[in-house]
Amino acid sequence: MSAVPILAAVAEVDSGDTAWMLAATALVLMMTPALGLFYAGLVRSKNTLNTFMMCVAAIAVAMVTWALIGYSLAFDGTGDLIGGLGYAGLHGVDFLPRNDESTIPHLLFMAFQATFCIITVALISGAVVERMRFGAFLVFAALWSVVVYAVLAHWAFGGGWLAERGTLDFAGGVPVEMASGFSALAAALVVGSRKDYGRQALLPHNAMYVLLGAGLLWFGWFGFNGGSGFNTGTNSVLAFTNTLITPACALVTWFVLDLIRGRKATAIGAATAIIVGCVLITPAGGFISPGWAMVLGFLGALPCYAMIQWRPRTRVDETLDVLAAHGIAGFTGILFIGLVAQVGWNGLADGLFYGNADQLLDQALAAIAAPAYAFTVTFVLLKLIGAVMPLRASEHDEAVGMDVTYHGEEAYVTGEGAILIVPEDGSKIPVPVADPG
């Protein structure tokens, strides 16, 4: 008896949309290890593994919190500030579309959104690498994914007050980019600078990782932006194509600025430009024309470049410039929609240049509210965690490096001088070792 309505509902799932969203979800998950590579290249060799492991840990921690409670708080119901607990533990998240507009299984929608929560948590680690205790980061990641990410995802995507007002955010300028960027600033302020910051040059140890990571991130971003239409329709195609266009234009700007400033186009600068370009188009992808996407790439890179030049001259050791590459770029992208959105391209709303000043107001509200919420809550959250456990490694451990301290491994171990520890009852006699007593 009950088989009939279920079959009827299942028929609403579109196979093409579902196929694309399955692939897009896998693409977005790949962005987190890619980010690990990008970040690991930017730190010193003694912290390579720890930096990558923070991204790996984000997958573990944020996936669990998302399934237990985060998804429900973000996407259950249309409360102004936060969702309900109806989907806690993924209760009732099944194979039917989640609402009338959706054409993919609810479970797949949840999985796609989970990969967003994961990479956002991983992004913040860039602010605290090379000195934060691994255990403290795990606790922070678990709590942040619920109290900041799930809330902002509800505001922008889940029917919260921003979505209700008509603020346009295609793929996460609010919960992903501005949230991670401004949380990163708060985290850097609470955790504090690395002990040698501002005194010694702390340089990237492997530019190739940085370039490879950036390339893989860009590749994954086609799933991130291209999948954020949740179908294979026009907005998705527009977002996908703009994800190709805007970063290319940001690269051009970065080359020119690098050449003007230092007479050399730097590789790590280029990798940074790719990320900045992808972030710029993230909120705007499915809403602005390809022409405006080019303008966004060319011009939007300017404030990010300025921030990246200025930040190391300050005392704030926001180590891998998450604020510049994500916070500022996300902020710029969100506002840009309010200027140049076109109904002809997005089917939803015009921006200021096409006669709709209200849209810019809605965008500006998001650009103020999201950073304020992310910064404040992250600041308080880390202060609270810091009251219960130390947030950072001892000076000695920081000097030795996080890899040996927290993982008992090195990224570039040679094996020379490594003595095999044989179990007591082993038949082999261990090699004699110099023992200083």
């Binding site: 491994e409 001088g417 490594a418 003595i419 520890i421 110099a434």
Partner: protein, 117 residues
């Protein structure tokens, strides 16, 4: 004329350089070495394999100086490299027979005195 050899922790190498510059010792060579000197050994695990790291990464400074500069150099090495824990390293001072500056053919005292460009 002496050759001062200092073997220090890699993470203190920058501090040592700073201390040397402050003591106006300017001719320095460094190399990365591995050594065993009595520090508490690290245990690392790679999948099922657990190993004791019997050799630690060190940075070796070689500094040729005139006799007047031996003490300031040794002091700078100590000041820059000391953490107070086992594994801070060693300093060796050796007699030096000859030194030649390749560019000019200057020998001995002339060769170990840095020139200001």
């Amino acid at each position: 004329m002496k050759l001062v050899i200092g073997i220090v922790r890699p993470e203190k190498a920058n501090d040592v350089l700073e201390a040397l510059y402050r003591a106006e010792v300017r001719g320095v060579s460094i190399s990365r070495v591995q050594g065993h000197g009595g520090e508490l050994e690290r245990v690392e695990t790679y999948r099922g394999t657990t190993v004791q790291m019997g050799l630690a990464e060190k940075v070796r400074f070689e500094i040729a100086v005139s006799d007047d500069f031996v003490q300031p150099t040794v002091d700078a090495l100590c000041e820059g490299a000391r953490t107070g824990e086992v594994g801070d390293g060693k300093i060796f001072v050796l007699p030096l027979d000859r030194a030649v500056r390749i560019r000019t053919g200057d020998t001995d005292m002339g060769a170990v005195t840095p020139v200001d460009k």
